[in-house]
Amino acid sequence: MARMKFLCDAERCIECNGCVTACKNENNVPWGVNRRRVVTINDGQPGEKSISVACMHCSDAPCMAVCPVDCFYRTSEGVVLHDKDLCIGCGYCFYACPFGAPQFPQAGAFGLRGKMDKCTFCAGGPEKDLSAEESRKYGSNRLAEGKLPACAEMCSTKALLAGDGDVVADIYRQRVLKRGKGSEVWGWGTAYGAPGREKPAPAQPQPKS
């Protein structure tokens, strides 16, 4: 199987924020943290475009490269996750991320930052699968239930696609051929590398337990 990817079709996104709501509900995301959000360009003008943005689980993730405590890892399915027990909430990943994905809940008074929180592709984190601990720290683990991220499955216009990168690309290709326009996939070159770029970093080996 190929790696997991997100794809947002700007021709289809109607800015309904269903993905944002689905994510918040599925993962019990606290107030002030937005794992996913909808960005609209040229809002209110003819030809405005909206896109749903979250962690894209980059092939060569900059957050992984800059983390001073190396709390990030990539699963065998290409999902970029992190260990919250190790995160020190420094915020380096936020500055490195081209999508503004890392979020920091306010942990106390005086603007104290908590541990980083971001989209997990609904794959939980480094705790026992589907455990209460995993749910509390990272949210839902739909991937372990054989399901795709809630945001994509909830998308009413199927603007947001998730899943095996090859299949997702095929769906989009077919769509573009049918409608004859809108072949630009926002963020894909940045996240997964444009053709001709060097190979992505290999996945971390995962011990089976």
């Binding site: 794959a123 699968d129 054989g146 899943g163 995962q206």
Partner: protein, 72 residues
Amino acid sequence: MRAKVVAFAAIAALGLAGCGERPQEMVQKTGKYQGKPDTVPWDSPQFGGKQAEWERAIQTRTQNQNEYTRIQ
């Protein structure tokens, strides 16, 4: 008297047990994941380690996003 000696010896042994000097520095291997290991998604109770079954479930779900194949 004997009980006192035994109690003293036990207290001394327990007290000295805390004197061990162990290295407490974190071993940081730069560029390598330092956190807890994670399990693969098909190790969940639903799939019981059957990777092929999990992949089939994910492929079906991914294909369900394509309305050109769902609606003819």
